[in-house]
């Protein structure tokens, strides 16, 4: 039985304990929202390598992990960051250079795969992608799949509806479960035991969290178990799913955290410039990540003024009239 003090830890300890070279990792969030960025930066800082990454539509987190040289293989539905990067820039480069191996699924398929992992079943059915190259073309060869015991031998499998033509369906596509070695999510509120509350949209974080062998939760606000239990209708993840709780205010920055802060459009525009040039990107990694001790120091680079501009308005949960050009 894990005690409170064992779960509550600093970020550096959580990453060095649960994230290892070559591990199968999934991160929560979606494009410009609630990516566990403090953890992403710590993984880059600790120079983790050869990670097998699972994501559905993570933008910034995926791009920085790929750009930071941490990822060899990725299973993904969407590598974009809204208007800031229709295709994530370092992701695009890495695929075109051949340094990142990609397996493409759709968003629903990735979500079903996490759900299957969370349910403890080997696969779940859908009808999405029949007749497409998502079904027909494999990014990972059969050989690679057979060599890695953590991967199923098939990307996905089509089969006749086992219930005959029941529900007017002849054919189904079965997508395989994902059980990452570790999932990392950033939430608005958690207690020391790990019970977690996501405000705004949970995306697929809950499925990703419950599918993982180990779960790291970083949170904006660490509250008492009494406070969590008195808001139980708003909580999604029970304590027994969680292995590490890390209190990191601003932990999703520069992506948004609903009710706390917006995404930082100025930084995301700067990032676009840094990421588009190898020399500038190397300088960026050094100055913004490697030479920075922890996430607080990263927030100090952004500065109080910038953080005040993106602070969430209490009525809407985002920064009203923020200049997003």
């Amino acid at each position: 039985m894990t005690t409170r003090s064992e779960k509550l830890m600093d970020l550096s300890t959580a990453i060095s304990t649960f994230v290892s070279d070559g591990c199968h990792l999934s991160i929560g969030g979606f494009t410009v929202n609630r990516n566990p960025m403090a953890a992403v930066y710590e993984i880059i800082r600790q120079k983790k390598r050869k990670i097998h990454l699972y994501a559905h539509s993570n933008g910034q987190g995926v791009d920085e992990l790929v750009g930071g040289g941490c990822v060899d293989r990725i299973e993904i539905a969407y590598g974009g960051n809204g208007r800031f990067a229709p295709t994530c820039i370092r992701f695009k480069r890495a695929v075109q250079e051949g340094s990142l191996l990609v397996e493409d699924y759709s968003n629903y398929q990735m979500t079903l795969r996490f759900l299957a992992g969370a349910m403890g079943v080997p696969c779940l059915p859908t009808r999405s992608s029949l007749g497409t190259d998502i079904f027909n073309k494999w990014g990972f060869s059969r050989e690679l799949r057979e060599q890695d015991p953590k991967l199923p031998n098939e990307k996905m499998v089509a089969a006749d509806n086992p219930f005959g033509g029941w529900a007017d369906t002849e054919k189904l596509v079965f997508v395989p479960a994902i059980n990452p070695d570790v999932t990392i999510i950033h939430v608005q509120q958690a207690d020391e035991l790990g019970t977690s509350q996501i405000q705004g949209l949970p995306m697929a974080d809950v499925e990703q969290a419950k599918a993982a062998k180990h779960l790291i939760v970083t949170c904006e606000k660490l509250v008492s178990s009494h406070e969590m239990k008195s808001q139980s209708d708003a909580n999604q993840i029970p304590h027994f799913c969680v292995d590490a709780v890390v209190h990191v205010p601003g932990g999703a920055y520069p992506t948004a955290c609903y009710n706390y802060y917006d995404y930082d459009p100025m930084f995301l525009n700067d990032y676009k410039k840094f990421a588009s040039d190898d020399a500038m990107f190397a300088k960026y990694l050094n100055e913004y990540i490697h030479l920075v001790k922890n996430h607080q120091e990263r927030l100090d680079i952004a500065g109080e003024e910038r953080l005040a501009v993106i602070a969430a308005d209490p009525r809407t949960g985002y920064a009203v009239n923020l200049d997003r050009k």
Binding site: G82, R83, P86, S128, T132, K325
Partner: protein, 256 residues
């Protein structure tokens, strides 16, 4: 009204396709503005939802991504991805869903590529990938596709088939086992295209004022039937006013 851009007309053209009461699935960019325009102009009882799970967001400000916190405020329900794709297949709600999607390449059957240019294993250009587009295109009965009208985008064969259209035409989509129907319209910065009821091949329905059917053909690799095409009526003053003032006042997506 003649003071408008083709990008504005394309947005209005898409908005006009949406019936009142529809459940509109939209992605980022121009599709989001078109959905907002439909709601403000011709389909006030429609509901906008996003794959991220936000249902009926008030959208006081234009979101720049489907996970933008602006989609989360004042919604009917903030669900998850697992719910949103369910609404597209659910026997009650699925039939009412209109999907609005875009892509890098399209072929004459409305099959879309948003994954790579060149060979999948050694791509010349890598794009974002499907996101939810393949799911929407697989599930719903009514989808609208946004495209820029360029020869390199309207191609004989897509380099990678990310989102299914009418596949090889005829009844091939049904035979493949896909549930929904193929795309209903393709809306570009020059024209509105539909699909033949039997062959499922793309046909020209309307060309925009100032654009000839010949110019449209010059900007496509494949031929389409132009014999039934007519000129589209220009946007009204009201449509443009609502688009500029209510949908994208900062010009973040429609420009200016």
């Amino acid at each position: 009204m003649d003071d408008y851009t083709l990008r504005e007309l394309m947005t209005i053209a898409a908005a006009r396709q949406i019936n009142d009461g529809a459940i509109i699935f939209c992605g980022t960019g121009i599709s989001m503005v078109a959905a907002m325009a439909a709601k403000h102009i011709n389909a006030p009882n429609s509901t906008i939802f996003f794959e991220t799970g936000a249902i009926d967001s008030v959208l006081e400000e234009l979101p720049l991504a489907v996970a933008d916190p602006r989609v989360m405020y004042y919604t009917a329900v903030n669900g998850g991805l697992i719910d949103s794709f369910g609404y597209m297949q659910n026997r009650k709600t699925g039939k009412q869903v209109v999907g609005v999607i875009g892509a890098a390449q399209i072929d004459c059957y409305g099959n879309l590529n948003s994954t790579v240019i060149g060979d999948y294993h050694k791509p010349k250009v890598r794009f974002s990938g499907s996101g939810g587009a393949c799911d929407v295109a697989s599930f719903v009965d009514n989808s609208i596709i946004f495209m820029q009208h360029e020869k390199r985008k309207f191609v004989n064969k897509v380099d990678y088939l990310t989102s299914p259209g009418w596949l090889d035409g005829g009844d091939s989509r049904e035979r493949a086992g896909l549930p929904g129907k193929g795309p209903s319209k393709v809306i570009t910065n020059m024209a509105i295209m539909g699909f033949d009821k039997v062959t499922r091949k793309m046909v020209l329905e309307n060309y925009y004022p100032g654009i000839t059917p010949e110019k449209i053909l010059e900007n496509m690799e494949f031929e389409v039937d132009i014999s039934q095409a007519s000129e589209l009526s220009p946007p009204t003053r009201d449509e443009i006013k609502i688009l500029r003032e209510k949908c994208d006042p900062q010009g973040l997506i429609i420009g200016r």
